[in-house]
Symmetry: C2
Subunit: 419 residues, 2 copies
C-alpha cells in the first residue's frame, strides 16, 4: 500500500530574531503530532536551499537539539535575502516544485517578513497554476514589527525588551555623575519606527532624566533636533536619545545613507546615524555625548527574551501547521489582540495578499506633536509584549544554545545554479 | 553616659559597574551587625559629597531599597572623578576631616579603582598625621580589572559575562547567511586589555567562525591587522574582531585619540576605534563589516550579571568592614584564587600602597605569538568569574532596580566650594 502521508518543509528568511526558532519548533511539534504528516524537513538558507535541494531532516535531530532550538537566537536553518522573479513563469519556480515533488512535500512554511510572505504568495499562485497539491503558509517574524494583518510580529517583543532593559540600565549609569550627558542609542528599523518607539517604555523605569525617540516617520530637521536636545539637556541634564537607523530628512533622504551599499532587495544598508548626531551634539551642546550602537545585538539577545514573545512565536508556527492541515493555503497566522490588561490575544488567519510587500507604519496619531516621543497608547501597546523571562541553561557561564545537525539529505535531482 | 559607638561613611568613585552596589550592601550589612557601629552613612558622589557634607543615612533607608540595591547596577550613591591634591597639606584634607569629625565618622570606606585607592591612602596618611582616630579602607571595583594585589576585581566578571554572552549571540546571527562577515566589537579598557582578552572565552560557545582580540598591550599595526583579518576571513568566513578602545600604535599613540577631550585625571576620553577599523576593512576586505559599540552597556548590564561576581563584590564590602573592625587601616580586601576548578578563593588584606596609582597589565605571556588571541591560561582565568545568574524581579517587563532616598542629612558645617 502506497504511503499517502506527505512531508513538511520549513524554511526561514530575512533578518533573524531572538525567537524565530521557536516558530520552527512550534511548526515541528504540531507536524509530528499529525497522522497526515510523515517527515519534517528544513531547507538550508531559505528558498536558496530549496532551489539547491539542500534539505535537512528535522525529524532525525536529537530531541535535545529541537528542545534547545526553541530558545536559541537567530535562524537555525540559516537565512537568505534571495528574491524570486516577479514573473512566476521563470525557471526558479519550476525548480522549486521539482524539489517539492522529489521529496513529496505537501506543506511548505516560510518564516519571515514581508519579502518572504511575497515569496510564499507567489509559490501558492504557481502551485495553483500547475495543479500541484500543496498547502503553503507564511509564519510571521520581524523585529521591525512592520507586517500588516497582525497586531504585532514575533521577534519585536524580545528586541523591545532588550532595548528597554538596556536603556534603563544605561540611565542608572549616566546618572552617577552630577554632569549632564546626551546618550545616543541607535535603534534598528529600516522604515518603520516601531522599535525606536518601543523605547519610550523605558521612561517608566529609568533612574532620572528624559527619553526622546526619533522615528523614520517624522522628517528629521537638524535645527529642530538641536533645539529639542538643548532644551531637554537644560531641563533634565540626562538625555537619552533613541534614534532610528532609518530617520530621513524632509526629502526622504536617509540621514545615514551610505553610497553604494544596497542589498538584494534594493534596500540601502543603514548604520551610523548616531555617529553623525553625536558630532552635531558635541559641536553645539556638550562634549559629554555617549554613543551606543548595539546593531545586531537588538535582534539576537535571546539571553533576555520576552517569554510572551517566545510563546507567541511558538504558537505562530504551531497554528500555521494547524491551518494548513485544515486545508488552508496562501495565509499567515496573525495575532489579534483582545485586551491589553490583562493581555489576551487569539490567532487569526491573514491572507498573504494583505501582507506581501506591504509595510505597516507606526501610527502617526501615536506620535506626540513635538515628534520626539509617543503617546500612552503606544506604551500600552508595547508593554505586554515584553513581559516575562525565558530561563536558559548555561555552559561555561554562557547561554547554551543549540545547533542543528545540518547533514544534507541525499539529492534526487541535478544541481541547480542560483543567481 | 556618652555613646562610644562611631559611625561608618561609605562612598563610591570612578566608573560604575553592574555589581558595585553589592559591595555597598555588603559593607552596610556587616556594619549594622556590629555593636561598635552606630549609623551607616553614604556620601553623595564620592569624595565630593564628603567635601560638601552631602551625606545620606543608609540606616534610615527602607529595607526593600537596601535589598534591591544589591542587584541594581551603577553607583547608587553617585560617583565623581575628583582627584585630591597630592599634597596632603591642602584645604581639602582638613575639610574632609572636619566633616568626619562633625558626623563622628570612625570608619571610611572608598569603593573604587586605583585613583580611589590613592585617595583612601592619602586620607589615611593625613589621619595619622593629625592623630584622628579612623579606619580607612578601600573596596575594589573596576570592569577594567587592572587593580594590583588582587587576583581580579569585582565588576570585571559581570562585564566579561555580558561581552561573551553577546558575542555568542552575535555569532549565531552572522552565521545565518552564507556570505562572510567581519564583525567589529569595541570593548572597554583604557590601558589594560583584560576585558578585551576575556572575550576569547566566547570562542568556546560561538556558532562558527573565529574570534580575534586586539589588546592595548600589543602595538597596533595596520598592515598586520589587515593581513590577519584577510586571512581569517578567507579561512573562517565569519570573523569576530574584539578591539579594545585603548589600542595604540607602536609610538604609544591611541588609535582613537580625540583631541581636546581629557578627563580630570588627565586620561584621554576614548571611543571610536572600531569606526576606524570598519572603514579600513570596508576599503580593503569586504563591505560586509558590522559595527557594534556597546560602550557603557558593558558595565551596566546587571540583568545578566555573574552571580559569582556579585557575591564577590558583596564579600569585598563585607570584609572591608571586618578588617576595619579588627583595627586595620590603609588596606583593601583582595581576592586570592586558590583553585580554578573547582573555583575556590579567599579574601586577603592588600596594603593600599600596593594598589594606589598602579595598574595591573594583562600578562604578555598570555598573549599568543600573533598578538591577536590569548592562551588557555587566560580563558581558564576568566571562566569561573562569569559563572551563575542573578534573578532580578521585574516591573513593566523590565528589571526593577532601586534608588536610594537621597535626602541629605542636616549640615553641621559651613558650605565648602569644590574646585
Amino acid at each position: 500500500m502506497k504511503n499517502t502521508k506527505r512531508n513538511v518543509l520549513l524554511a526561514q528568511s530575512g533578518g533573524p530574531t531572538a525567537v524565530i526558532n521557536a516558530s520552527i519548533v512550534g511548526a515541528f511539534e504540531r507536524s509530528i503530532a499529525s497522522s497526515d504528516i510523515d517527515r519534517v524537513y528544513g531547507a538550508k538558507n531559505g528558498i536558496v536551499g530549496v532551489l539547491q535541494e539542500e534539505l535537512i531532516d528535522l525529524t532525525a535531530q536529537k530531541r535535545e537539539t529541537m528542545e534547545g532550538l526553541k530558545y536559541t537566537p537567530s535562524s537555525g536553518l540559516g537565512s537568505c535575502r534571495y528574491k524570486l522573479d516577479k514573473d512566476i513563469h521563470t525557471p526558479d519556480y519550476k525548480r522549486i516544485f521539482d524539489v517539492f515533488d522529489a521529496h513529496n512535500i505537501g506543506y511548505f512554511f516560510y518564516n519571515g517578513g514581508n519579502d518572504s510572505m511575497d515569496t510564499a504568495l507567489k509559490l501558492s499562485q504557481y502551485a495553483k497554476e500547475i495543479g500541484y497539491p500543496i498547502n503553503i503558509m507564511g509564519i510571521p517574524k520581524t523585529v521591525d514589527n512592520d507586517l500588516c494583518g497582525t497586531d504585532h510580529c514575533p521577534g519585536f517583543g524580545s528586541a523591545a525588551k532588550y532595548i528597554n532593559t538596556t536603556l534603563v540600565e544605561l540611565s542608572y549609569d549616566i546618572n552617577v555623575y552630577t554632569a549632564g550627558t546626551v546618550l545616543l542609542f541607535e535603534a534598528m528599523g529600516r522604515h518603520a519606527g516601531w522599535l525606536t518607539a518601543s523605547a519610550a517604555l523605558s521612561s517608566l523605569e529609568i533612574y532620572d532624566g528624559i527619553v526622546l525617540t526619533y522615528l523614520p516617520e517624522v522628517p528629521f530637521e537638524r535645527e529642530v533636533f538641536l533645539s529639542q536636545i538643548e532644551d531637554a539637556y537644560r531641563k533634565h541634564k540626562q538625555v537619552i536619545v533613541v534614534a532610528s537607523e532609518g530617520i530621513k530628512d524632509k526629502d526622504g533622504e536617509l540621514i545615514a545613507a551610505q553610497e553604494g551599499k544596497v542589498d538584494q532587495f534594493g534596500h540601502k544598508q543603514l548604520g551610523g546615524v548616531c555617529i553623525q548626531l553625536k558630532q552635531i551634539i558635541e559641536e553645539n551642546i556638550t562634549k559629554r555625548a555617549k554613543l551606543i550602537i548595539p546593531d545586531l545585538i537588538q535582534r539576537s539577545a535571546a539571553h533576555y527574551s520576552s517569554s510572551t514573545d517566545m510563546n507567541e512565536a511558538y504558537w505562530m508556527g504551531y497554528k500555521a501547521v494547524d491551518y494548513a492541515l485544515e486545508g488552508k493555503t496562501a495565509f499567515m497566522p496573525g495575532i489579534e489582540r483582545l485586551s491589553n490588561n490583562p493581555y489576551v490575544w487569539e490567532p487569526k488567519l491573514v491572507p498573504l495578499e494583505d501582507v506581501a510587500n506591504h509595510e505597516k507604519e507606526f501610527p502617526t496619531e501615536w506620535i506626540t506633536p513635538e515628534g520626539n516621543f509617543v503617546t500612552k497608547e503606544a506604551i500600552d501597546y508595547v508593554r505586554p509584549l515584553i513581559e516575562g523571562n525565558v530561563s536558559i541553561p548555561e555552559r561555561n557561564g554562557l547561554p547554551r544554545y543549540h545547533k542543528l545537525d545540518k547533514t544534507l539529505m541525499p539529492k534526487r535531482l541535478d544541481d541547480y545554479e542560483v543567481e
